[in-house]
């Protein structure tokens, strides 16, 4: 007994220490950049503060007068007059409101503040309440131009299922200390409304878990790049007997990009759509590819995203608090493998949100697994959308998109607008879904709830998986019942074949935990945030068996915690069932004086209230020697999640960093090393010109630089490699170009005698001091010659004209294609038909005798009939 007490005391001491440690952490600012109204309550009162006062038990006459004044008549009714006279107040302004309330402006007494004035009015016995008449402001409206189409985030009478995120954003737009994993088809990092976290975007480096390369469709199995390469399936693939048999032909879905945009498109950036969260990070864990993906990859992705180790994969440095799974398939109970990993994740506070399915029947796997938040789809009107699966496993309903105008060319009025791409196979233009590029499915109901859960975790990071789920349900809105008598009530499916494919009215369960059809209600961001802002009551209890009947049972609520920036203000203990007494009812710790005798039990309730007046309760049921409670012993110390810094920026370096090259002949292969992104591709430029040019030199896509013909001025140019992933990041190298020797062209033979009437002579041009040995051939200045002076082929084969021209000597010239100022010529004397051909070469030329054809020329003669030299010979001659 003694040792047990010591242990209990130690536990309590550690708990209190933890609470103090929490108080010492300054929270990260989470201001809403859109909100422009003053935060100071004083400035919200205006220059002449007024109050709204309601009196108790007003007489019928008084009420009538008040109502009359509400219609516009000056409000000097008897009730207000009596009150003013009794309290000695000088009322400057009075106006009646509905419900027996009055707006009053009262002259303050000398030195009296408005708050003191309020207290004085409240102290009057006839006053039910008196509150400041404060200025209010419109809710935050983001600057994103497509926000107007995102009906599901707004709050309109015609769309009761909309989640009213706009109002919730006045409380929080989310914390950068929260990570939401998207277990899906990957993501398009390049979408301008998403972007990588280290380039000012929302998406963290994730991982590609698809192990089958055919399904992955990115050329390999698992890798560090979760970019979505597209998941299209061709008709031939679907008809084949292979991996995609019977998958059905389909275009790429860009599903993960759609889901990510709902959760966290870049918001209030005057572009595109608005995400439900504006600051939390998105972690893509790719587990689906062509025709879906397998459990073995999905489960590994789930575990990894939560920070668990997966064999062969580097650990995730950004553990997720929320995981979104917009995936599933029908037909089986929750597999044990899913159940075990979900339980493991829940034990560390991770909430798994899963779409219910699109069959209109029973909830799919893994949405039917314990501890997840399964989400079904609602129409704009709040009824279940036909395709959405339903049943007792569902936690909540959320907009799933529905089309009410489905005629040809008509818009789908209630599509879920988000980020996507218009590529039918590989990615093309980054676009958005809308009323014509429609987007519906429970896949998009789930990320709506994941986004709300992330807002909740942002304002109260201590909420664990079960608490997040329970408070999501607590904040939900009651399902409406359709006024249309032809719309039936939804029912729990009797089996896989019991499909409710048309609209039905969701049943409202009497309590959130009661099995229903569409869950506890319609997801509501404001309600959920209000629930999340409540504190968490925690109770430290003595170990079972450490006390006995009649002995004191010590309890402590010191481990309770308020939401971010809130503290526990009061503790209240009470006995709700059974008999007994408590040593204290208003302190952090208490004791039940005597444990009951079996089989009696006593239930003690702790109610904690924070400094904003929000409560939470925890019940402890005490028997003769045990205690039982669902409350934690410690609420946690992470109410304000510390902002997670983005990954290091993309870095590009180029090697070598400097080189000196000769003009024309100089070439250099540069290598770009790109770090902090799996996308290592770069684009090259020289002095800012993409690919370079003839003045500063050129550079290929592979980084091979070729110096220009002449050294530029200045002689040093800059070669730059720019990251394709982050165009603001680049690396450079300097190239200094020195003028090389001029291009030299020589010709063999230098002179020849060729008989008219078809005689030929093969010439060979040798070009040096250049990487381009190509020449163009001319006869007497005419490219290719003509029938008068003779012709010359692209390979240097001269053919004499049919008759001897007036000038029997013609000039054959080979001109460098690279530098047209450089050339060499040979003289050809055309003899009469049948005359003896001959050729001569310079004595320094080496090889070849007087008028004899060289071996190469002879070979060319053999091929005359073909008009073209063989390929290998052309290559040999460089032409």
């Amino acid at each position: 007994m003694r040792s047990s007490s010591l242990i209990l005391g130690l536990v309590m001491a550690l708990t209190v220490t933890g609470a103090f440690a929490q108080a010492g952490q300054p929270p990260a600012p989470e201001d809403n950049p859109v909100v422009r109204h003053p935060q100071d309550p004083g400035s919200r009162l205006g220059d002449t503060p007024r109050m709204i006062v309601k009196f108790r038990s007003a007489s019928t006459t008084d009420r009538a007068q008040v109502q009359q004044s509400a219609s516009g008549e000056t409000a000097t009714n008897s009730l207000v007059t009596k009150f003013a006279g009794r309290a000695g107040l000088a009322i400057r302004e009075a106006r009646g409101l509905i419900g027996g309330m009055n707006v009053l402006r009262i002259d303050p007494r000398p030195g009296e503040s408005f708050e003191q004035q309020l207290e004085r009015v409240r102290s009057d016995a006839d006053v039910e309440f008196a509150v400041p008449d404060e200025r209010r402001f419109p809710h935050a409206v983001p600057s994103d131009p497509l926000y107007t189409g995102q009906w599901y985030l707004q709050n309109a009478a015609t769309t009761p299922s909309a989640i009213n995120a706009q109002a919730a954003w006045d409380t929080s737009v989310g914390s950068a200390g929260v990570v939401i994993a998207v277990i899906d088809t990957g993501v398009l990092y390049g979408h301008p409304d998403l972007k990588r976290a280290n380039v000012g975007g929302r998406v963290l480096p994730g991982y590609d878990f698809v192990s089958n390369s055919a399904i992955a469709n990115d050329g390999n199995g698992r890798d560090s790049d979760p970019t979505d390469p597209g998941d299209w399936v061709t008709a031939a693939e679907s008809a084949s007997s292979g991996t995609f048999n019977n998958c059905g032909a389909s275009n790429s879905s860009w599903h993960g990009t759609r889901v990510s945009g709902i959760i966290g498109a870049l918001s209030n950036n005057s572009a595109g759509v608005t995400g439900i969260t504006w600051n939390p990070w998105i972690l893509p864990a790719r587990a689906l590819g062509k025709c879906g993906g397998f459990d073995s990859d999905i489960i590994d992705a789930m575990a990894w995203a939560a920070g668990r180790h997966v064999n062969g994969i580097p650990d995730n440095p950004y553990p997720a608090k929320i995981e979104n799974l917009s995936l599933g398939s029908a037909g089986v109970p929750c597999p044990a493998s899913y159940a075990s990993v979900i339980a493991d994740l829940a034990s560390s506070g991770v909430l798994v949100v899963v779409s219910a399915g699109n069959e209109g029947g029973p909830v799919d796997t893994p949405a039917n697994c314990p501890l997840v938040a399964a989400i079904t789809g609602l129409r704009h009107a709040g009824t279940k959308v036909g395709f959405a699966s339903l049943g007792p496993e569902v936690a909540l309903g959320a907009p799933g998109g529905n089309c009410v105008n489905t005629g040809a060319g008509q818009p789908c009025l209630f599509s879920i607008d988000t980020t996507t791409n218009d590529g039918t196979t590989t990615a093309n233009n980054f676009t958005y879904t809308d009323q014509f590029n429609i987007n519906v499915g429970t896949s998009f109901s789930s990320p709506i709830v994941s986004g709300i859960a992330a807002l909740m975790a942002s304002v109260n990071g201590n909420l664990n998986s079960a608490q997040l789920r329970a408070r999501l349900q607590e904040g939900a809105t009651t399902f409406p019942v359709s006024a249309d008598p032809t719309v039936p009530m939804c029912h729990v499916p009797a089996g896989q074949n019991d499909v409710q494919a048309a609209e039905c009215s969701c049943t409202n369960p009497p309590t959130p935990s009661t099995p229903g059809t569409c869950g506890a209600g319609m997801a509501n961001a404001v309600g959920a945030l209000n629930a999340a802002l409540r504190p968490i009551a925690a109770v430290v209890r003595p170990p079972n068996g450490s006390f006995g009947a009649g002995q004191a049972v010590a309890l402590s609520g010191a481990g309770s915690a308020g939401a971010c920036n809130r503290t526990i203000a009061t503790y209240a203990w009470s006995i709700v069932t059974g008999t007994g007494s408590l040593t204290s009812t208003n302190t952090a710790a208490t004791s039940l004086s005597a444990a009951p005798t079996a089989p009696d039990t006593v239930t003690v309730r702790l109610t904690v209230t924070d400094d904003k007046g929000k409560p939470d309760t925890a019940d402890v049921t005490i028997s003769s020697n045990t205690t039982n409670s669902s409350a934690p012993s410690n609420a946690g110390s992470n109410a304000c999640p510390a902002a997670i810094p983005p990954p290091p920026p993309v870095s590009v370096t180029v090697a070598p960093t400097s080189v000196t090259l000769n003009s024309e002949t100089g070439t250099q292969t540069f290598t770009a090393t790109v770090t902090n992104t799996p996308n290592t591709s770069v684009t090259w430029d020289v002095n800012g010109a993409a690919g370079g040019n003839s003045t500063v030199g050129t550079i290929s896509a592979a980084g091979v630089y070729s110096a220009p013909l002449n050294a530029p001025s200045p002689a040093t140019v800059t070669v730059r490699a720019t990251s394709a992933d982050d165009p603001s990041k680049s690396g450079t190298a300097q190239v200094t170009i020195t003028q090389g020797p001029p291009i030299d062209v020589s010709l063999t033979p230098t002179a020849a005698n060729v008989p008219a009437g078809g005689g030929t002579q093969q010439f060979t041009a040798t070009v040096t001091n250049t990487t381009n040995p190509t020449v163009t051939w001319s006869v007497n200045g005419k490219t290719g010659g003509d029938t008068t002076v003779g012709t010359i082929s692209a390979f240097g084969l001269y053919t004499a004209p049919g008759v001897v021209p007036s000038s029997a000597t013609v000039t054959v010239t080979a001109t460098s294609a690279r530098d047209t100022t450089r050339s060499a010529s040979a003289q050809v004397t055309i003899g009469s038909p049948g005359s003896q051909p001959s050729a001569s070469t310079p004595s320094s030329g080496g090889g070849g005798g007087g008028g004899a054809l060289d071996l190469l020329g002879l070979l060319m003669l053999v091929t005359l009939g073909r008009r073209f030299a063989p390929k290998w010979l052309r290559a040999y001659r460089g032409s």
Partner: protein, 113 residues
Amino acid sequence: MAVSRVRTLLTLVLGCAAAACAQPRADVAEAQTSTCTLQVIVALDTAPDAALLADLSRVSGAHLELIRTMTSNLHLLALQAQGGDSECKAAMERLRGDPRVRSVDVDARRKIQ
């Protein structure tokens, strides 16, 4: 002449044998020629080394091969059994009955919704 008779006899014997092989009882043929293959996710208390896999193969009546170890205590195995799908299911049931095995699930395909 004698050679010719031997050839005729041999042809008859081989022909009968061939005919017998070509027309066995249908159920015997299925059992002998068809196999079922599944990928299964198995939760085990210990990592499946060669000895454990061999023992579990014996218990299940199917050939088990480790594809990869997943997270925690989960392992992706290939299960191959002689016979139709029912034999694979039966092998899974036998595997589930082994005290060293916590769970066995088919590695099923999931799709976007």
